[in-house]
């Protein structure tokens, strides 16, 4: 076991746990955001850099700080480690930089994007980004491609988290999907647009944190926040059959796997459940799905904002942007 302190709160976790997972065990505001790490995909993480944190003390044996910020999703804890996430201005500044990098070539076409409302990049930009852009250059664009008859790839929106390639490698057999080219010309592709035709290929859509991979059977049918998510199951020979039905009245518009509070699917579903049972009668409906996230789909309504708290929070951020250390939040105590 290893004792770690994250933003001043102590927790004991199993050896080998990453900083991110230790923070997730702790829960709350100090959990770093993650755009590429996906706990059920082997080898994921380390790429997007939004989860960077400061290690102010390496361990009790070697208390020196780690000179560079580290990716919390792929750095294991050590006994006596002291980690700063929200409490480090350096981290917040670097994270703002990463969000800016993720957005400079993003089309920002949320008004016509199916992912809007359940998009990790929207949430991230809302929480950590700046509201204006410093980028005046031309944005990179790609042609849209069909990956098989059910999935649309809109590469321009991709943040290259590599999750979908890992689904293709780890969940499906017969790998035909990967990354072509280099640098900002990299693109997710099925080799020469070969269709990904496999029982579990649809999971690529669920792991995609942005609107780069969308379900063609749902495209443009409805804004996601106008649908009602319902937990449902059916007996299936290929997967657990546990899904979420996204319904409007009695019509099933879309079927997805169930995501946890960090947007991760723990039980992947098969294509039959996803695409071939758009009929409420095929399912046993368990009840409304509690979407434990901060985006607009949460509980099918917009959160009521406490204006006083919001004002205080904005003042706090302004102080920080003037170069001062981030003042304690209202509910934080020293």
């Amino acid at each position: 076991m290893a004792k770690v302190t994250i933003d001043g709160i102590e927790i004991e976790v199993a050896d080998g746990t990453t900083i991110l997972n230790a923070a997730r065990q702790l829960g709350g505001a100090s959990v770093p955001p993650a755009m590429c790490y996906y706990s059920s995909l082997k080898g994921s993480g380390g790429k997007c850099r939004v989860c960077l944190v400061k290690v102010a003390q390496g361990s009790s044996k070697d208390p020196r700080p780690i000179p560079k910020l580290v990716a919390s999703c792929s750095t294991p804890v050590a006994d006596g480690m002291v980690v700063q996430n929200l409490t480090s201005p350096e981290v917040l500044e670097a994270r703002k930089g990463v969000v800016e990098f993720l957005l400079i070539n993003h089309p920002l076409d949320c008004p016509v994007c199916d992912q809007a409302g359940e998009c990790d990049l929207q949430n991230l930009a809302y929480e950590h980004g700046a509201s204006t852009t410093r980028y005046e250059e031309e944005r990179r664009t790609f042609e849209k491609i069909d990956i098989g008859d059910k999935i649309k790839l809109h590469m321009t929106r991709c943040i290259l988290c590599y999750r979908c390639t890992m689904v293709a490698n780890q969940l499906t057999d017969n790998r035909v999907h990967g990354v072509l080219n280099r640098g900002d010309a990299s693109e997710i592709s099925t080799y020469i647009e070969k269709a990904v035709d496999n029982d579990f290929s649809g999971n690529m859509i669920d792991v995609c944190p942005v609107g780069a991979l969308t379900d063609k059977t749902f495209r443009f049918k409805s804004r996601v926040w106008f649908t009602k998510p319902m937990d449902a199951h059916r007996s299936c020979t290929k997967c657990s059959g546990k899904t979420v039905l996204w319904m409007k009245d009695n019509e099933v518009l879309r079927v997805t796997a169930r995501k946890d509070q960090y947007g991760e699917v723990k039980e992947f579903i098969c294509n039959e459940c996803r695409y071939d049972h758009k009929n409420a009668a095929d399912w046993t409906i368990e009840g409304p799905r509690h979407i434990d996230r901060h985006s607009v789909i949460a509980q099918n309504h917009y959160e009521k904002t406490d204006l006083l708290t919001l004002k205080k929070e904005i003042e706090r951020q302004i102080e920080f942007q003037k170069g001062k250390p981030l003042p304690l939040a209202l509910d934080e105590k020293k």
Binding site: G45, K47, E100, F101, I159, Y162
Partner: protein
């Protein structure tokens, strides 16, 4: 000329053949190591020699070797990094092309020390003709019993392969190199684990530069302590410098560490001074990644001491007034050089070569290139200069591999030392429209150009 430990026999006709190389004393280190020393004794000599990695980072070679996991029951590998793609660096090519047996000999002696039974030379794809030279040398070494089963009748056996890259700079980064060698996309790995624990095929692996491995030959022949007598302080031995740019005698030079930079630039034994009688403006001392220094800071440190060709002296002053020896790619620029144009070229390179795995490098390198393109072509704004500094700062230290840093440092240092020139581009867009603007009329800074 100082002592030549690597290139001593380079001018001997036919030195690329086994016969002549052997006649000049070649393969003595293999005989000495295999017949009279244990592998650990060879490693000990390399430790004593103080040899530091010649690929760029300058990590002590003996220490890297001692980190190799010798308890693992997996095979161990030695991989030679011959991907040499850093702009301004061409020393490894020269060595491999002219005296290929030196590398083959170094590989055998080093593999013996590390207990590797299979070793690889990963060479950049553009060096295809050098690959053929190396393969011929390897065939000759097999025929002479220096490679293959039971070398020189001992129970040590080694197979050596050359593997070409496919044209990516990033495959010079050691973990990307290993991925590529395994047949995968050349993306750098997350570290730890380091190659010494889990490298090629997840087995303990040492990755060393061509010159580092070649230096093992004189180290074993002379003994580590004797080798350490060449050079100064922690910069021991000799170093190959690829000298290019506005000098009278560009080429590859073997220098003793500790040679004054001024002597290296102006002496007829080396660069022979600035061409066309012009003045020195700036130097990139260790390949395109290291900070650029203006003339007055490359010749003398900020404290006014003469700058020497050593790891320590070049780094004196940190990144405020110093730079790095890096890979020894010494690029000299005269007074007609446009620093902005040069930086744009470097930025274009890093943008093109980023593997694209991590967001700061993938997006930031392209951003910097585009802004520099605008400034250089007379479409910049004053705010762009600070924007570049900030983007570079947001990349540096926040990426998976050091390519992000390598892209950020030149930007930060060029603006640190030559800010006036960036401002000039913004203020006088008409004057910079002609790509040869400073050839027509050199930029005169309020700082003085140095004439020696």
């Amino acid at each position: 000329m100082g002592r030549q430990l690597l290139l001593e026999h380079i001018a001997v006709p036919g030195i690329e053949t086994f016969e002549v190389y052997r006649k000049m004393g070649g393969y003595a280190s293999v005989e000495k190591a295999l017949k009279t020393m244990t592998p650990d004794q060879v490693t000990e000599q390399v430790k004593n020699s103080g040899l530091r990695g010649r690929g760029g980072a300058g990590f002590p070679a003996g220490m890297k070797w001692s980190f190799l996991d010798r308890k693992s029951d997996k095979p161990r590998y030695l991989v030679c990094n011959a991907d040499e793609s850093e702009p301004g660096t061409f020393k490894d090519r020269y060595l491999m092309e002219k005296i290929p047996h030196l590398l083959v000999e170094g590989m055998i002696t080093s593999s013996y020390a590390l207990g590797a039974k299979t070793s690889y030379i990963y060479i950049r794809g553009e060096y295809m003709y050098v690959l053929q030279i190396l393969e011929k040398a390897i065939r000759e070494a097999y025929a002479a019993g220096f490679l293959g089963k039971n070398i020189l009748g001992t129970d040590y056996s080694l197979d050596l392969y050359v593997h070409p890259g496919a044209g990516a700079y990033i495959c010079g980064e050691e973990t990307a190199l290993l991925e590529s060698l395994e047949g995968k996309r050349g993306n750098p790995r997350l570290k730890p684990p380091f190659p010494a624990i889990a490298g090629l095929y997840a087995s303990p692996t040492v990755v060393n530069n061509v010159e580092t491995i070649a230096a093992v030959v004189p180290i074993v022949n002379l003994g580590g302590d004797e080798y350490a007598k060449v050079g100064v302080g922690k910069s021991t031995g000799t170093k190959l410098i690829s000298a290019s740019g506005h000098i009278n005698k560009p080429g590859v030079y073997e220098i003793e560490m500790g040679l004054p930079v001024e002597e290296f630039i102006y002496s007829d034994q080396y660069c022979g001074g600035i061409w066309k009688g012009r003045k020195l403006k700036a130097v990139v001392a260790g390949g395109s990644s290291v900070p650029i220094l203006p003339a007055e800071l490359i010749l003398k440190t900020a404290k006014g001491e003469p700058r020497l060709m050593t790891y320590e002296s070049l780094a004196d002053g940190g990144f405020t007034s110093g730079t790095m020896l890096g890979s020894g790619g010494f690029i000299v620029m005269d007074e007609t050089t446009c620093i902005v144009r040069n930086l744009w070229t470097f930025a274009r390179f890093y943008h093109h070569e980023s593997c694209g795995q991590c967001s700061p490098c993938r997006e930031g390198t392209g951003w910097m290139e585009k802004v520099l393109h605008r400034i250089e072509h007379g479409h910049g704004q004053m705010s762009d200069i600070d924007l570049l500094v900030d983007v570079a700062k947001k990349i540096e230290g926040n990426t998976i591999c050091p390519l992000g840093d390598a892209a950020a440092w030149p930007v930060a240092s060029a603006i640190r030392h030559f800010r006036e020139e960036f401002e000039y581009h913004v203020k006088y867009p008409e004057k910079v429209k002609n790509p040869k603007h400073f050839e027509i009329e050199p930029f005169v800074s309020s700082k003085q150009l140095v004439m020696v």
